[in-house]
Symmetry: C2
Subunit: 180 residues, 2 copies
């Protein structure tokens, strides 16, 4: 049971979004912008950072939803790497740049003050641009919000078979308000 | 020095917002919605939760900016209570409902999975509504994002004399995109 009465019993963030549509517009617009609009990192890489942050935060609904979205974008080789990342926190199979960005993301997820110049230097040495670093920071930060919104209101997980469909829908149709 | 080259040397979140205007639109729209639009909690109470979360996260720019906004809304008696809250983590002087919501906020700031049914029951016993609980969760969650965006990119604090002016501007003009 969620902690408050929500207008729908849909899983995860969908109940809270329906409770407060004026906030939902911005929450969904932000997700669309940072995960799916053209950027220096591919959408599959950005969804990987979203799933990784959600994994580290223990938010299973967001982790499974965004892992499914990442798999929908990534080829089979990198999908296998994603599975290892989320199962064993082993980033083998990702590019050195992604590995350094995932470390930076982990530092920021764990602590607001966690990113050091060394994290940034390692990412740059592996080829990360200002845009790559910015987007890694903002995606990690945003999922420290979305995860708390989902868990802080005590929402439920989706059924296991629902996530793959969600992932393909997020790839194909995105996060625009009005989608369900 | 921030970790990336930002288009302005303005303090805190203003540089990151200028770096990525398409995301800034949603980040500012969300702040306007959750902090300043009509809701069951007064704007001064919602700014207090924003300042409290930022204090717990160690983000001085956000803490000082939103404490100043809270003081601009609250009367002198509750501004003195806010000062005690941020200096000594002592919520004396706030209503029992606000004290329970600040405890719920602290639990969620510390851990994505930190809110228990007991936190919610204590808030309800002190008179909190579904809207009060929802907004406390979303504001706390959002500042776990804004704080990471500001600190994860290594931005600088404002000068001490700037915060009071910022607080009054946030009360009078809000967070709408296009303000500086």
């Amino acid at each position: 049971m969620p902690h408050i009465t929500l207008p729908t019993d849909a899983p995860g963030i969908r109940g809270p979004l329906a409770f407060r549509p004026d906030a939902a517009k911005h929450l969904l617009g932000l997700a669309e912008t940072i995960l799916r609009q053209p950027a220096s990192l591919e959408p599959g890489e950005r969804e990987t950072i979203a799933a990784w942050t959600s994994h580290l935060n223990g938010c299973k609904f967001c982790m499974k939803s965004h892992a499914a979205a990442a798999r929908a974008w990534l080829g089979s080789e990198r999908s296998a790497a994603l599975d290892r990342l989320l199962a064993a926190e082993d980033a083998d199979g990702f590019s050195p740049k992604m590995q350094a960005l995932l470390e930076l993301s982990r530092a920021l997820q764990g602590c607001v003050l966690g990113v050091t110049p060394e994290h940034v230097a390692r990412a740059r040495a592996a080829g990360a641009s200002d845009h790559d670093i910015h987007d890694t920071v903002l995606i990690t930060a945003a999922f420290c919000m979305y995860n708390r919104y989902v868990e802080g209101l005590g929402t439920r997980e989706a059924e296991e078979h629902e996530y793959e469909l969600t992932g393909r829908r997020l790839r194909d149709q995105g996060y625009a308000p009005g989608r369900d």
